[in-house]
Amino acid sequence: MQQRFAQQMKKGALDMLVLKLLEHDEKYGYQLISELRERTGDGVSLKEGTLYPLLYRLEDGGLVSSRMGERTAKEPARKYYAITECGREALGEMYQVWNEFDCCVRAIMEEDQ
């Protein structure tokens, strides 16, 4: 049960985390998966089957945009994702919701402390 709870909790924050990773630089899929894994110490391990539907949904909603990079001698052709202005606004709103929810959870879970 703990694993399922952990999965549901993490899933709820993924949109926000991906937008945050795109805040300063455009990135490609493998890069997003690697960075998320490294920066969370394997705490958030995303697979392509979850990442790409998420990116497609963010793009359809205008929160990210994509462009195809060029294939070079050293690198394969990659699709780069970048956050849009709408995405930046949404990121701010999501983080605010997250913080408010965190306060609510703490208010209940820490009532005896």
């Binding site: 490609y28 690697s34 392509e48 089957g49 979850t50």
Partner: protein, 76 residues
């Protein structure tokens, strides 16, 4: 299993429109190429990504309701 067979098996099990299916397969192939370019072996990539049917299942489970509805309508 080689890379071509792997992506073919994933593609067969995707429940979405053809453009989206082709897009995901291209993205999957690009990630595989990036992983190989980063020094991973194909065996490591295959193990990390998991069985093709699980990749497809996870993708299908995470599709938006609109995409699922559009695919079902097109299939009827």
């Amino acid at each position: 299993m080689n890379q071509q067979s792997y992506t073919k098996m994933v593609k067969k099990r995707l429940m979405c429109s053809k453009p989206r299916r082709d897009e995901f397969v291209r993205d999957l192939e690009s990630d595989i190429a990036s992983a190989l370019a980063a020094g991973e072996s194909w065996e490591q990539v295959e193990q990390r990504m998991g069985e093709p049917y699980l990749v497809a299942q996870e993708f299908n489970d995470n599709l938006s309701q609109e995409e699922i509805a559009a695919w079902k309508n097109a299939s009827d």
